[in-house]
């Protein structure tokens, strides 16, 4: 698989040359394959948001390069907008970006900026609204009349409507109730499966990452700490805990059961898998009796 995002010793220092200088990303070499679903985790301040803002050229590397589909993003600074459409970025608390009179117009903002015809824009808007399960009749409402969760989904639709090759989401579920959270994550997963686009999901919830991601990128103090298959990353529980991150609760339970001598694999990350494993382990115990 060719890499859709590649970084070469990427570093970013905020306010370089002033008293407020702050190194946020350090010497990151990374390759993200096309079509992957990558979870990005790390302690608060580890540089997750800074790193992902390089992928669509919102931030310019202080040193190093970012290649999207093999193209250096900052080779022609005038054409940087191209990468904004290629890599769609949904910010933390994206509902604060809503501004149009109607939801329809707001979702259409991105596709219109791409220079699509009104007909194409219309198709994109309706498709995106369907993806985030916003009913058609809501499209003519003002975005400020929606509930928090609906606003969030509308903002995500505004990025999905650009149909980016890579969709990057920075903590899309922060501050939502469990149902709203599951709904958004379900929609993102479905988007990934149907479109086959690359998805990067920044999250503080190990459960969500474990459930959704194929690969996990762990950042620590601005550096890549691990980048591997989800399974392999969560298997290194002790190292994660040193960073203040903890594997999913269910993994901890399974590890504990494993240590107690039950035939349950410690490499289980979802409640569903745990249920099957524990039931079969119990069955085995019954039989052995």
């Amino acid at each position: 698989m060719p890499a859709i995002i590649k970084t070469e010793s990427l570093s970013h220092v905020y306010s370089q040359g002033t008293a407020f200088e702050q190194a946020a990303v350090h010497d990151v070499d990374l390759e993200i394959e096309k079509g992957a679903f990558v979870g990005v985790i790390g302690h608060t301040g580890s540089g997750k948001s800074t790193l992902i803002q390089h992928f669509n050229g919102l931030l310019r590397p202080t040193s190093g390069r970012v290649l999207i589909d093999g193209e250096d993003t900052w080779e022609h600074p005038k054409q940087i907008r191209r990468f904004r459409f290629k890599v769609g970025l949904v910010f933390q608390y994206p509902e604060y970006q809503l501004f149009e009179e109607t939801l329809y117009k707001d979702i259409a903002f991105g596709p219109t900026n791409m220079g699509l015809t009104p007909d194409e824009v219309d198709v994109r808007v309706r498709q995106a609204a369907r993806f985030v399960e916003l009913p058609e009749d809501m499209l003519q409402k003002s975005p400020f009349e929606l509930s928090g969760g609906q606003k969030r989904r509308a903002a995500i639709a505004g990025v999905i409507a650009m149909n980016p090759e890579v969709l990057v989401l920075d903590e899309p579920t922060a501050g939502l109730d469990p149902r709203g959270r599951d709904r958004i994550l379900g929609e993102i997963k479905e988007y990934h499966q149907q479109q086959g686009n690359t998805v990067l999901l920044v999250s503080h919830s190990m459960e969500d990452i474990a459930r959704l991601a194929d690969k996990v990128l762990v950042l620590a103090r601005g550096r890549v700490f691990m980048y591997d298959d989800t399974r392999a990353v969560f298997a290194r529980a002790e190292q994660l805990e040193q960073l203040g991150l903890s594997p999913p609760q269910i993994t901890k339970i399974c590890t504990r059961l494993h240590r107690e001598g039950l035939p349950v694999s410690p490499e289980i990350f979802t409640v569903g898998a745990a249920k099957t494993a524990i039931l079969s382990a119990l069955g085995e115990k019954e039989r052995n009796r």
């Binding site: 306010s15 008293a19 803002q53 669509n56 919102l58 907008r81 904004r84 459409f85 769609g88 970025l89 949904v90 910010f91 994206p94 604060y96 970006q97 809503l98 501004f99 903002f109 991105g110 900026n113 791409m114 400020f144 505004g158 990025v159 650009m162």
Partner: protein, 277 residues
């Protein structure tokens, strides 16, 4: 102009003598300094005013480089003032072309005016650099409290100022975030003519206003739920008190004012109609 260039209300905490001064004293000294700049009628006495800044910046541990930063937003005004004085002051012409003439008085006056503005900005910027917004408004409230006698809502006005100053950095940060979010949706803020650019600002201004109103409402609620009801009968957490530093600052400032006045009397005044001699 980049967002990070905005230095209004920016405060650099420190422990220098200037930082340790009572905010009331600092405000009065800044006022005296400004009066001094306007008293300075010849270049020599104005240079004494410049020396005042050149001493107080290092004394407060603030880099002189920051003067340039604070001048950036007013640069057009300085240039405009310079050009205006250069060409439109009557006197003995040195050069003449077309209908413009440059006179010796013009040059002198242009230099004088520009230097005065630079000194003004640099001096008042130092006040905000070395004084936290809270201390600054505390000082203002104390200085204006005599007006309470005539029922002026001094406390309320000062509270409004405090809140405004407090929220400038927050709103700048918020503007940055909203700009990034809209750029991520392909908003083009850099090209086009003036009208197009103004239109392009809408996706940023609307969310910014919405969030400013939301913040204002939340703040009002938070204040009310803590029983805030204005200035009456309120005691203070930080009680202002003069100290030795303030006495030294007063002596220092008075010395400078005297120097300026003395040079003014002995030196040649600028022949500007309508100005003090």
């Amino acid at each position: 102009m980049k967002l990070s260039d905005i230095t209004i209300g920016q405060h650099f905490p420190g422990q220098s003598p200037v930082h340790l001064m009572d905010p009331r004293a600092k405000i009065v000294v800044t006022g005296a300094y400004i009066v001094m700049l306007f008293l300075a009628q010849n270049l020599l006495s104005l240079l004494v005013g410049a020396v005042f800044v050149l001493i107080t910046y290092p004394a407060s541990g603030i880099a002189l480089r920051l003067i340039l930063k604070s001048l950036k937003p007013v640069l057009p005004i300085i240039i405009f003032t310079g050009i205006l004085n250069l060409f439109f002051v009557s006197g003995e012409p040195l050069w003449e072309f077309w209908r413009l003439s440059i006179t010796a008085e013009g040059i002198r006056l242009a230099v004088h005016m520009c230097l005065r503005i630079v000194c003004l900005i640099a001096g008042s910027a130092l006040l905000t650099y070395t004084t936290s917004p809270i201390a600054l408004t505390d000082g203002l409230e104390a200085l204006f409290s005599p007006l309470k006698k005539i029922k002026a809502p001094v406390h309320e006005i000062v509270m409004i100022m405090t809140i405004t100053l407090r929220f400038i950095p927050t709103l700048i940060e918020e503007t940055g975030k909203i700009m990034s979010a809209q750029k991520a949706r392909g908003a083009d803020l850099e090209s086009g003519n003036i009208l197009q650019r103004m239109r392009a600002m809408l996706p940023i201004l609307i969310p910014l206003f919405v969030s400013a109103f939301r913040r204002a409402e939340e703040l009002a609620l938070a204040m009310e739920s803590r029983c805030y009801h204005g200035g009456e009968g309120r005691t203070r957490l930080r009680v202002l008190a003069f100290s030795g530093v303030d006495v030294w600052a007063a002596v220092f400032t008075i010395a400078f004012v005297f120097a300026v006045v003395a040079i003014n009397i002995s030196g040649p005044a600028l022949g500007i109609p309508g100005t003090l001699r």
